[in-house]
Symmetry: none
Subunit: 212 residues, 4 copies
DNA sequence: CATGAATGAGACTTCATTCAT
DNA sequence: TATGAATGAAGTCTCATTCAT
């Protein structure tokens, strides 16, 4: 609805920064959403962190929800792309490729900023199921499929044992996710070196548990 | 884990064991919180689902947040207890115990009601870090420790290969969690039989990936 | 959207007044809407005038617009009913009936409270065309039809000259409306006695209408 | 009454006689105000419809309210002038003059653009009483006085019956206003030819007014 | 114990107005 | 002149919380 006559607002304190704005706002939104959750985050906070007034945010995004969706989309796209590439490439030495993937994933996900989006998606998925689903399809399932494909090719090449490729993918990704969740969501503080962790994971992956 | 038992089914709808109330309210709270998230859930909804008026909820709980904390606590306690038992017991046949654990965990976590609390905790942890931490300490880390202990004893017994026990625990739990997350939080619909899944997981766990 | 944790509000100062509330609120709404117009009226004002807090208004009405619609409806219904009665009744002495109608209408519409709703409708119709249309159909056209019918019956009875009944109706109602508009909307202050006005109007009307 | 004339149709869209601007803006303002009402109209809309940026509007008008006042003033002035002329002139044949007035007024007011200002004034008068009053004094009362004067002179000339001149004026204008209001404000759709309507009105008018 | 009317803080969103460019 | 980014006041609506009954 509209309103009674407005008083003269004070002049803007800062001047335009052109079209970096949407991205800056999304950065701020990611930070605040991740910190407080979607609902508890106030648009004011986001605006403040982006160095803008509340109203300015609405110059670029229609609503708080649009902010969330735009954010997820921005974060999802490049990942999805990289994963697609991953899925297609890396076939000649499946073992080495898997090593690389595990090492990199372990390292990457250790970075709070990298895990910020997944964390947010997890928190928000109950309230916005399509966001969760979208993220799954474009990221989680993409990753799983990439690893499953890698496994299948490894089987064909005779370097991987015949097995349920989906289970393999979960065996590869699950532990990494579990660690990230404990650390970034549940506040675990344990300081294990990333490389050690990756090594231990790979070791188990390749050797299996049981003594033979 | 869900609704409290009613005494006489033919009894008037309004008379029940007075002390069942708090539990019924927590049941309702869990349902609504899980569905909508903590912030979006309205106390009114919870009251309604519990068959009470909003005001009545405040006879049993001081605040919405108290509802959340009480809920987590109620759900955490029995699990923590069971996990403690698990950690202490099951030493004589580590392989069989592990099989049992994986099978049961896979099965249990498939049930949306069982995963409701973890899901809620994940969603709420950014806003209430102590809740996340509490849950981690009493549940996640308990489970990890239990499995790690099992592994260590298995190593001593010569049935498990020497390895980083924490990594083993993650290898065991991670994939189960990953699957649950995809299903219950990210809305995945794939219908794989639980037992098949448990089997595949165990197979990989015991055999390792690489051909030897 | 929802929000951060709430502080404890102070207790309600007044106690329930049961189901007179909606009507009291509509009274207040009519007053404030008429005074300031729909947009400039603040729900707070309405609530205040009804002796309630802002929030309480929303216990009874979904939105400010619902308030407006509810209000119009409440005001329209009894008028529509009376007009319907008018249309059906008063056939035996068309001249006397017309005298009565003009006198009463002139008198009634002189009362600012009576003209408050038409005034509001006029102000609001551009923004809410259906409200305008609804009011027209149920009130304005009803009145016009009633008078036109009266004229037609008068013609049949031989007491009114043959003429376009719609034009007659406008000749009867138009001047009354014009006066009301000048007074209640455009702030005219002229103090002509209502009866004198009605007489002058009737005089002009009958000199043209009556058969000679 | 509407868009200002463009010089060369082939000229660049951006160059026009600089002083046409205010008028173009007022045209746009009238359109938007009439459509949505004063409060609901956004300065942005007005600017857009005038082919300018929001900021540019403020180069010509101090505020939204100034826009409204300037608009009313612009629309009022020529009418007021014409009415003054009407009042002074047209004395020799009062009957013919009245015929002319009724016919023209009926025709004119049928045009939505002509009635746009009265419609706006009606909608806005509750919020800005001075505007309503100003409009009444300069337009409504001018018109009434003109007709009343015409009547008086007609009485002196012996062609009109002795009567309350104000009532006569209302009898002349009221029906025309009523029809316009139904059509332009309350959305009535009836398609009666203007001339037929004027004739019917005049017929009724003269049968009562004329000396016999 | 239970109800539900009432409160009031607070958050989202809109938009008149300003001003550097 | 003209633009359009930016501000911030203000208003609608929601909902946790309270308390008379």
């Amino acid at each position: 609805m509209t309103a009674a006559p407005r008083k003269a607002p004070t002049a803007p304190k800062f001047r335009r920064r052109a079209d970096a704005r949407p991205d800056e706002i999304l950065d701020a939104a990611l930070a605040v959403f991740t910190e407080k959750g979607f609902d508890a985050a106030r648009v004011d906070d986001i605006a403040g962190r982006a160095g803008l007034s509340k109203g300015a945010v609405y110059l670029y995004f229609d609503s708080k929800e649009a902010l969330l969706r735009g954010l997820i989309e921005r974060e999802v796209s490049p990942i999805a792309m990289r994963l697609k590439a991953l899925a297609d490439a890396g076939g000649d030495d499946p073992q080495a490729t898997l090593r690389l993937i595990v090492t990199m994933a372990t390292q990457l996900i250790d970075d709070a900023r990298v895990f910020a989006t997944p964390k947010l998606v997890l928190a928000v998925a109950a309230r916005f199921p399509e966001i969760g689903e979208h993220y799954r399809k474009r990221v989680v399932d993409q990753a799983i499929d990439a690893i499953a494909g890698l496994h299948r090719r490894g089987v064909e090449a005779g370097v991987f044992r015949q097995a349920d490729s989906g289970a393999v993918a979960r065996l590869v990704m699950g532990p990494i996710l579990l660690f990230a969740m404990r650390k970034h969501i549940l506040g675990a503080k344990d300081k294990i070196s990333t490389t050690a962790r990756a090594e231990a994971h790979l070791d188990l992956l390749f050797e299996g548990l049981a003594v033979r």
